[in-house]
């Protein structure tokens, strides 16, 4: 008994230290947000007078100003179109490929999976220059609605390898009997996929889509390279275009803009973090 209670004690102090460490680390993450939030409610004079003072009196009109000058509604709409078209494309195409590779024994199957694996381990940024040339040759860089097409093609290509790999892993775990009974009913391969397999794979597709959302919604490099038309700018590049000019002169507007631009991502993350964790966890399971 004595031994046991001593042990409990050890664990308890251990947790105390654990909490202390994790709380300090959480503050390190959260305080920058709090401070920028405070800054965004002040006037320039208040910021200079004391950068850490609370915003008294508060100036919420800074946010309205940032929202209008930042043209956020426009950029958020553009981001939504580009990102959701990408998510749908990847979900459809990768679940088909994952089904083909995870369910069928074929000669080329393992090789194809290896090719997708190379894609997972290749940093997509290194394609930037040839991709720029390629899109130029395809006349996708001239502005206008084709900008969306260019973004969706590129984003989908980057997200397909991991999505396919995960879907193949998912489909290979389903029992054979699922398919066999459908085949007995005389369904073709494609109808089996569409009517039986696709509905079963919805949770896996959700994980993949949440992960893909975060990766594409926040992309800066490719959006900055591909989008030449201010009317089609996604949130990250659009906000740089509209808000960064304020950065050196109007700190409060810039701070409000930074927070506004992060709000959609943060809301999305808080709603779907379970899937996000699973998605990144899925990456950890990828191996040769």
């Amino acid at each position: 008994m004595v031994v046991k209670s001593e042990r409990m004690n050890v664990f308890r102090t251990y947790h105390l230290k654990t909490h202390a460490f994790l709380i300090l680390y959480s503050l390190f993450i959260l305080l920058p947000f709090v401070w920028i939030g405070i800054t965004s409610l002040k006037t320039q004079e208040q910021i200079y007078a004391d950068p850490f003072a609370l915003p008294i009196p508060a100036h919420p009109e800074v946010w309205l100003d940032a929202w209008i000058k930042g043209r956020f509604s426009e950029y958020i709409t553009n981001s939504f179109i580009a990102v959701f078209a990408t998510l749908l494309t990847v979900a459809l195409v990768a679940s088909m490929a994952g089904y083909g590779l995870g369910r069928y024994k074929s000669k080329l199957g393992p090789t194809l999976l290896k090719i997708f694996l190379v894609g997972i381990f290749t940093p997509n940024q290194i394609t930037i220059i040839p991709l720029y040339i390629e899109l130029k040759q395809l006349s996708l860089l001239q502005g206008g609605p084709v900008t969306y097409l260019a973004l969706v093609l590129v984003y989908s290509a980057f997200r397909i390898p991991f999505a396919t790999y995960l879907m193949a892993a998912f489909f290979s775990t389903l029992p054979r009997s699922v398919e066999e009974s459908a085949r007995m009913d005389g369904l073709s391969s494609f109808s089996i996929f569409r009517r039986v397999m696709l509905p079963l794979s919805l949770p896996a597709l959700m994980t993949i889509s949440v992960f893909n959302f975060i990766m594409t919604w926040n992309d800066y490099l490719f959006a900055a390279t591909i989008i030449n038309d201010p009317a089609y700018m996604t949130l990250p590049v659009g906000m740089q275009f509209s808000i960064l000019g304020f950065y050196t002169t109007y700190y409060n507007t810039a701070a409000a803009g930074a927070i506004i631009s992060a709000i959609p991502s943060i809301i999305f993350y808080l709603f779907f973090q379970k899937y996000m964790l699973r998605g990144i966890g899925g990456l950890g399971l990828v191996r040769a």
């Binding site: 909490h19 994790l22 950068p51 494309t89 800066y220 950065y247």
Partner: protein, 297 residues
């Protein structure tokens, strides 16, 4: 025969794979490969679109380019500094958050992973404010604790700029690595560490002898990711110091910045592609060595 081929095409896996493969190949694999070829040409969009073959000229010149040497050094510095922080920071926080019976697990995990979900432009702006030379958080704190002599323009000082960017980079991505380790730890059946505890292993021994070996695939991915990131991560470097091109591009430019400037800004496609080819080779070689050492590949 013909019928059999057609049948296997219709019933086999290949038709299902074609759309994914086509997209992946056209807009990822093809540009990744064709870059090596562009590196052998004098393609320069300021002069025209001629693809004249010039052999290894670009590859030799790039090696002698002091800006590329600086970019390569900076990338190595980022790799050496950020990799241990990201891997051990991610691992430590995952082990702590995964502790049995710890209250508020979910809240800690949510907070630690939060920066990963942020748009990089917002994160850069927040940190630019923190580093601001006049009213930034760091300089204000230093002045108030009578350490005013330490204040500097963190992002515009050659000795601190790149390190400052690395701090932001680690602040953001520790959560990513934490998530990798955390999901693996969560997938370990509870009976394994419990049995070890019954056998009299201490908490520390359970972690080092039982959990760590199971985390090996996570280590592989995590380390490979940090090494590749040091050479190819673009956003913070570009947004925090790169736009202004601090110090004539030598203070903070990493390889991807060098590639971007030469290719997208100066339109020297052939030349920048040579640098991209070097980057690809270095990243793949380093990753191969690391995965081999961990006996994962």
């Amino acid at each position: 025969m013909r019928v059999a081929v057609r049948r296997s095409l219709r019933e086999g896996p290949y038709l299902f794979v074609v759309p994914a493969l086509l997209l992946f190949f056209s807009f990822f694999l093809y540009p990744a490969i064709i870059g090596f070829f562009y590196g052998l040409t004098g393609l320069d969009l300021r002069k025209g679109t001629s693809l004249d073959f010039i052999g290894l000229k670009n590859y030799v010149e790039a090696l002698r380019d002091p800006l590329m040497q600086a970019a390569f050094r900076n990338s190595l510095y980022v790799a050496v500094v950020s990799s241990p922080i990201l891997v051990f920071g991610g691992l430590t926080s995952a082990l702590l958050v995964a502790k049995k019976g710890l209250r508020g697990k979910a809240a800690y995990a949510t907070i630690i992973i939060l920066p990963v979900a942020m748009p990089t432009i917002a994160t850069s702006m927040i940190w630019e404010f923190i580093y601001d030379s006049q009213w930034g958080a760091i300089n204000t704190i230093l002045e108030r604790s009578s350490l005013g002599f330490l204040t500097t323009a963190w992002l515009h000082n050659p000795t601190t700029a790149l390190t400052a960017i690395i701090v932001t980079y680690c602040w953001t991505f520790i959560g990513f690595h934490m998530a990798i380790y955390f999901s693996i730890i969560q997938s370990i059946p509870k009976s394994i560490p419990e049995a070890a505890a019954v056998d009299g292993l201490s908490e520390f021994q359970i972690v080092t002898r039982i959990i760590m070996p199971l985390l090996k695939p996570g280590f592989g991915l995590s380390i490979v990711n940090t090494v590749a990131g040091a050479f190819t991560y673009f956003d913070f470097v570009f947004l925090m110091t790169g736009v202004s091109g601090g110090g004539g591009f030598t203070w903070t430019d990493t390889m991807i910045l060098w590639i971007y400037r030469n290719g997208i800004a100066f339109l020297k496609i052939g030349y920048s592609s040579a640098g991209a080819a070097y980057t690809t080779l270095v990243v793949f070689a380093l990753n191969f060595v690391i995965l081999r050492r961990l006996k994962i590949w």
